[in-house]
Symmetry: C3
Subunit: 155 residues, 3 copies
């Protein structure tokens, strides 16, 4: 039987990637009560960094949003693992924390992070509505343009 | 009947603003169990950004603290909405996360964030005592000098 | 009677410091349900900042990792206080948030944060496995190279 969220992913023509390996001495997620804390995700596809660079310099806001969407896909891949493969057990997206590698002049961090937020809304509907912060950073791991961490609720 | 916290706000001559609109595809707050996660707030007054600029460059630490206080007022406005208008339902301030747009030489992020922290103490007393982080950022949304997100406890 | 974790600290020849004083109008930790939110910790030893500077400029990645380890020791000191002196009441490390003062070219934030993460693994074993984010910042309080905040679970 296909789950409701799996069906929505199919409609959206989204195939979730395998959850990326962590980049250090930590784990992809920790479950505490009904909250799932997921480690910061980068715009990796099959282990390769996409959209390296900085906003306001080598990347457009649209490219940044595409990078944020890849981070969100990796969050969903980790979240599926945290739910033993069943995304219907996701109670909701609680909070996304977004970091954008950028110049001191760049001010469109929210538009960049919308690439992640809009994916959550498309996949989870009402349950995808989340709190968020979006801030700049001078540099991120591997030279990534965006990093997004998240807190989710599990049923 | 006026609430205890509403009374304290009156004594402090603080009129909370209307909760600011969000800047993207997310919501101002999410309630998970007895925790309220509030999105990053900027120093907006009636939708207009106050104290744009960077610490260590165009703004003094005192101006940064004033900007952080405005962020905190907007957090309180969101928190009141999360408590259906009744701030007496606030169990406590759990954690504030503060981002300060600054030069690489600026090191007074704590003094800037005190503008937010001292407001919480003034309004909530003991229940306003919170954990915190304060860090620098090269740039923040809209060119803001400060962004503060928060986790609160609801009774 | 010596606790299990106290015994492990002895084996590791680690003497936890006294919990550092806070740098502003906040508190070192807040307990909410079974979660402990600990404020951002700096690489302070006896109140003196170690490893000031920025990664990619004045500090090597190894020095950054040593600074992150000092932040983690201070997190443990605060956590012990949050557990009334009994680290055996720690249920697990939930999430570490790491900020690395760095140049726009620096991309080894994960290796720096490993200095904190590996300490948690050494002290708590399986319970030390945590979610994490690691990002860059242009500057941190007091000119610190690293700041680490954390969420823990208390039994």
């Amino acid at each position: 039987m296909t789950g409701v969220i799996d069906g929505r992913l199919s409609e959206l023509k989204i195939a979730l990637p395998a959850p990326p390996a962590v980049a250090g001495a930590y784990v992809p997620f920790v479950i505490a009560g009904d909250l799932v804390f997921i480690s910061g995700q980068l715009p990796l596809v099959d282990g390769v960094l996409r959209y390296p660079g900085r906003l306001g310099e080598t990347l457009t806001t649209e490219e940044g949003a595409a990078a944020a969407r890849l981070c969100a896909l990796n969050l969903l891949a980790q979240l599926r693992a945290a739910c033993d493969g069943d995304l219907d057990r996701v109670g909701g997206v609680v909070r996304l924390g977004g970091f954008v590698a950028c110049t001191p002049e760049f001010s469109q961090q929210p538009q960049v992070l919308n690439g992640a937020s809009e994916l959550m809304a498309a996949v989870f509907g009402e349950a995808g509505r989340h709190a968020r912060f979006a801030v700049g950073a001078p540099a991120l791991p591997l030279g990534a343009a965006v990093e997004v961490e998240g807190i989710f609720r599990r049923l």
